[in-house]
Symmetry: C2
Subunit: 441 residues, 2 copies
Amino acid sequence: APKQRMSFSLSQGTRDYNPKQMAIRERVFNTIISCFKRHGAETIDTPVFELKETLTGKYGEDSKLIYDLKDQGGELLSLRYDLTVPFARYLAMNKITNIKRYHIAKVYRRDNPAMTRGRYREFYQCDFDIAGQYDGMIPDAECLKIVHEILSELDLGDFRIKVNDRRILDGMFAVCGVPDDKFRSICSTVDKLDKMPWEDVKKEMVNEKGLSEEVADRIGEYVSLQGGMDLAERLLQDHRMSQSKQVLPLARGLDYYTGIIYEAVLTQAGAVPAPAEAQKGAPAEESVSVGSVAGGGRYDGLVGMFDPKGRKVPCVGVSIGIERIFSIMEHKAEVSAEKVRTTEVQVMVASAQKNLLEEKLRLITELWDAGIKAEVMYKKNPKLLSQLQHCEESGIPLVAILGEQELKDGVVKLRVVATREEVDISRADLIAEIRKRTSEA
Amino acid sequence: APKQRMSFSLSQGTRDYNPKQMAIRERVFNTIISCFKRHGAETIDTPVFELKETLTGKYGEDSKLIYDLKDQGGELLSLRYDLTVPFARYLAMNKITNIKRYHIAKVYRRDNPAMTRGRYREFYQCDFDIAGQYDGMIPDAECLKIVHEILSELDLGDFRIKVNDRRILDGMFAVCGVPDDKFRSICSTVDKLDKMPWEDVKKEMVNEKGLSEEVADRIGEYVSLQGGMDLAERLLQDHRMSQSKQVLPLARGLDYYTGIIYEAVLTQAGAVPAPAEAQKGAPAEESVSVGSVAGGGRYDGLVGMFDPKGRKVPCVGVSIGIERIFSIMEHKAEVSAEKVRTTEVQVMVASAQKNLLEEKLRLITELWDAGIKAEVMYKKNPKLLSQLQHCEESGIPLVAILGEQELKDGVVKLRVVATREEVDISRADLIAEIRKRTSEA
């Protein structure tokens, strides 16, 4: 029955999270949210779809990757492509000029799966942004600090944070002889350097974007440069560059950046497993791709695009690309054979004898009322063995066993699953005993 | 500039959450998630869109409310309408026959805003479901227990949980003379009794669904019945009803229920504010609507619809309708003039003198490294007053003030915002002192 087979597949480029993956995801989110909160950020949420025109003209060439909703009468809607444009819309709409906020939510891109294996069409972004007119580059520096803190705490191995500035790129394009109206378009092409070798990038510049070979070669000279402060010095002495600090082969394809831009990549390629989907049929060319896990920059003009009077709100922010981090953490958990618990159940209420369902329900209700995480099997008369097995499988540390004798004596037999030790505890002391034993663990 | 004005509006039926609303939302979610975890549930996640055919034929008349994505080449996709159908698809796809899981996520319905004021087109559902072949109605009872626990803990005022069974409804339709092929369709109409008076419901049955007046009147007799165990007794003695326990005017529009169905309503109508949107233009007829905040039931056939061999997995679950609960909590916070904090910042690093930015950044880095939640203003030389005002506004309890003298002495002036008390603390003791003072609060 092919129709039925169809109906239980997932749409291309999307995934389910099973309980184990969710437990790992929760851990990663907790680390990231803790960092955002430590830096004093508030959080907001916006709808998953926006008016189509809200997204129009914000993403340059990438606009073709926006998911549109079907016109079912009414407004034309699109799924959000990132969290930055909705944030800018939110600021303009609510006339907010100062905020430090984080937003963790899914975004949607109709990426060509043949070209970008391992990228999902639905994926999480974890964004931290600072809006407001402030001194120097203090908020910009805090964003970089946050990337550094999160990547260090997640313990993903060595990483490098690449830094550039949109104004340096523009200056570079100008001295290379790129026509003004092609800056953005050429910038998108340069951005592909982390996925394609220079020869292919150059080919696109010449054949598709209409640059002369000569201009493309001049760009090639610059984008091959890499370094730290020493590079900044060299560029300052470059008579062709009017203003510069640092140039790195980093462009970031999005249209809206106006100042500093940055991207964090994992440098221990070996430690980075390709996501399952990518492994299946991915060719060797994949190895060109570095593990980009965070990126962002300054976008001082975006909010003004939503304001009727064009009032600007300077913004800088960073987005943590969480999917690759999930893959690494999942891989780590597998390699270390770590047993990831998917529930937090402290105790199972069990019985060795028959016809004790109601007694068990009475006991578990007491436990629930006291805030103890507890489970009971949904069978009238389950075997003790199957109750104990369930505990072993799901990592439940304690079993509270009821029997006729225990009921008469007003006690419960408390069994420690790991050691098989059993002690009789009076009903009155049971809750305290469970709390004590599970807070130790 | 009408185009610009358009571009910062939201799509109809959706909303942003500001930081204060998010703080309240987080509190509600924490209560609900704690309850789900206390009952030993795991959690999963599924994509926001599914293949269109996955949703086809699952929602009866409500199918017209499904959002479709535009055909941009490739698969035909729809936004999820609830979390139950994706759950069933997940079980079938992964051949899972036993699971207790919760899932909190947004769902999408193209509800007619003119008819259903106060209902959003994007809204959260908090679902708890138990899949598996179990004894008696133990899992069914646990779902009701969970509704009771959550509504009690959220302290929303009195509520009533209405219980019915799809099989009783079907029996009732049969004895009233409804043709078999109209059961589902008439059931949807009966479900509107919580939004429309009986006269309008009857009109729809006769004029739109083609029932005779006589049959409709007979249905009217049954659905006017309400009660507890006494009603069950009366129905058992009703010679027209072959099997019954309890009949209440509750139908639940969804197609997939096969056994017990339930819905929880808040009964203190006065305590339930209509959401802001609804208040604007809502007519008096709104008062017919009761505050439904949870619903669910047993659906033993749904998973089988996704299995090539039609293998069934019995399921029962409950969905907490969170939007109305958010509104009530927001309203409560407003009425009580409670100051809802939107960050958890413990201390602001401040200075009274100029040119101490680097010293402040050095100190705040020490605090962040120790896990202290701390903020510094993004100005080179902010006024002390504006730093203190920021603390008052956002509820930051402590200020760590640096000055030339303090730096020389190796101390920090720690100010308690509420009492204006100031004490000099040595740098070495600062972290412990902040922890002590903010864990007390």
